[in-house]
């Protein structure tokens, strides 16, 4: 069902955990639907210097979170904003169609954490003007 890449990230997820003094925290998803992602960002001079995640969900949700953290680590906020759900899914060598919402959740988790950072620091991040972290990816 899953690509070897998905299974590899499921077996050995990168960046699992929390960041105590995180600069931005985003939580998306809903326990009712069976998946929640929580993303922690440490940001210095506009660069994501550390990232951690915690996920309640299926194999592809865990693998998508892991891949998303790898894709934003060391990147600028602008670069991280360009990490789309499609990019996450492609980096995992694809996801089954019914699991695409997991990659959407990963993209939203990053954005939700960036939005939290923006609010705390009273700045605006281009592309987050209309972002709603409570939007349900299952509806897409």
């Amino acid at each position: 069902m899953y690509s070897e890449k998905v299974m590899e990230h499921f077996r050995n997820p990168r960046n699992v955990g929390e960041i105590e003094d995180a600069d931005g925290i985003g939580e998306v998803g809903n326990p009712k639907c069976g998946d929640i992602m929580k993303m922690y960002l440490k940001i210095e001079d506009g660069v994501i210097v550390d990232v951690k995640f915690k996920t309640f969900g299926c194999g592809s949700a865990i693998a998508s979170s892991s891949m998303a953290t790898e894709m934003v680590k060391g990147k600028t906020i602008e670069e991280a904003m360009k990490v789309t759900n499609k990019a996450v899914a492609e980096a995992l060598d694809g996801l089954p169609p019914i699991k695409m919402h997991c990659s959407v959740l990963a993209e939203q988790a990053i954005k939700a954490a960036l939005l939290d950072y923006a609010k705390k620091n009273n700045i605006e991040i281009e592309g987050l003007e209309d972002f709603d972290p409570t939007e349900d990816p299952h509806e897409h």
Binding site: R11, P31, K32, C33, K54, T55, F56, C58, G59, I62
Partner: protein, 392 residues
């Protein structure tokens, strides 16, 4: 462990060696069509009738009350649609339960679109149907009560005898989907007042693609498959002779030493349940604590999701199943777990381990040991568990 630990016997079972051996001649040597007049054909006919006798004997029925189908789903469809259409002058109301297999539920939903009325009975926290609600639901239009013998997910055994009694007193047909029960529990259709009963061979070490519907003599039912005159004009189609032969052998073996086998299975089941409940916190047993299928264990681990649990078990060579949404291909977790009152988030963390004749005590202990590690690992990743630890 090097070999696969198979704990998904409610999904399907391996064909036993003795069963396979009895089937093999009927593929290439004794391949005749049972409807043919020459001896090659009658050889097949005899084999089919011998198997029918074995199956009838196993459930206390007459051979002519056993009709072969392509499996449990066909038997369920036939019972429901066949009774509905043959008795629609008498009434249009069917009573079933919320925890039936989809073979029943989706058939009932289809009939609702055709104008039939269906009552879906509630179950209690253990998954037992409410007999008072059953009695109250019966009206002049009721033509069929269909309640499963034992639930495929949580293993709960229904009060079949009481339901049969109620149906008999009211003169309503009683069908039971016994796909999970046949070959595992002793059944007597007369003692239990069962009018129709569905079974599938692959759940008791027989082949896939073969099942049967028991239909009590005198029951008014339409055919589901029309065509030739096989199965006494009730189920058309050239008989699956190897499958039928295999099913006969499988049922014979299943009821041989059934008490001893079940004693062993119940011992293993209880050891597994105790191992899980004693070693892992925030876990609950689903289904009836005692009145359940001998090999069924169903638990929910809070704060983790079933599919990641199954993938992790698979990595350790353990095959099991879950009622989580991700494993059902829908967004909702199992309808059975929701019907016993579990909230969605807990139902997503369900695990079914269904034991069979080939499981050992050593395997049980290995599975418990691995589960402890896997649950801990997944919880360490779960934002829900973090909140519990912090007491939020």
């Amino acid at each position: 462990m090097d070999k696969l630990i198979y704990m998904d016997n409610s999904a399907t079972t391996p064909v036993k060696k003795e069963v396979l051996e009895t089937m093999l001649p009927y593929f290439s040597e004794k391949f005749g069509n049972p409807s043919s007049v020459y001896s090659l054909g009658s050889q097949s006919k005899v084999a089919v009738e011998e198997s029918r006798e074995k199956i009838a004997k196993a459930i206390g029925a007459k051979p002519k009350e056993i009709f072969f189908t392509a499996g449990g789903s066909e038997a369920d469809n036939w019972a429901i649609k066949g009774i509905a259409y043959a008795n629609k002058e008498k009434g249009n109301h069917i009573i079933t339960s919320k925890i039936e297999h989809h073979g029943i539920l989706h058939t009932c939903e289809y009939l609702e679109k055709q104008g039939f009325k269906v009552t879906y009975l509630d179950v209690d926290e253990y998954g037992v149907v409410d007999l008072e609600q059953l009695k109250d639901s019966i009206n002049d239009e009721t033509i069929l009560i269909s309640i499963m013998y034992a639930n495929n997910e949580i293993g709960t055994i229904q009060p079949v005898e009481e339901i049969g009694q109620i149906a008999k007193e009211k003169g309503i047909y009683f069908h039971t989907d016994a796909v999970q029960a046949v070959g595992h529990i002793k059944i007597d259709v007369n003692k239990l007042n069962i009018d129709m009963l569905s079974m599938a061979a692959h759940k008791f070490y027989g082949p896939k693609g073969i099942g049967a519907l028991y239909i009590r003599q005198g029951v008014k039912i339409d055919p589901l498959i029309s065509g030739g005159g096989q199965e006494r004009n009730r189920r058309a189609g050239t008989e699956n002779v190897p499958g039928i032969v295999g099913m006969g052998k499988a049922i014979e073996l299943a009821y041989k030493d059934i008490e001893e086998k079940n004693q062993k299975l119940i011992y293993l089941r209880e050891r597994l349940i105790k191992g899980i409940l004693d070693n892992i916190d925030h876990v609950r047993l689903n289904g009836h604590p005692t009145n359940r299928l001998p090999g069924n264990v169903n638990v929910c681990f809070e704060f983790i999701e079933g599919e990641s649990l199954l993938l992790s078990l698979d990595m350790e060579g353990i095959a099991a199943s879950s009622g989580s949404a991700c494993t059902s291909g829908t967004l909702d977790p199992s309808h059975v777990l929701l019907a016993i009152g579990l909230p969605h988030e807990i139902a997503h963390g369900s695990l079914r381990l269904s034991l069979g004749d080939f499981n050992t005590e050593e395997e049980i202990d290995y599975v418990v040991e691995k589960l402890v590690d896997i649950v801990a690992r997944l919880r360490a990743m779960s934002p829900l568990y973090e909140k519990v630890k912090e007491g939020k």
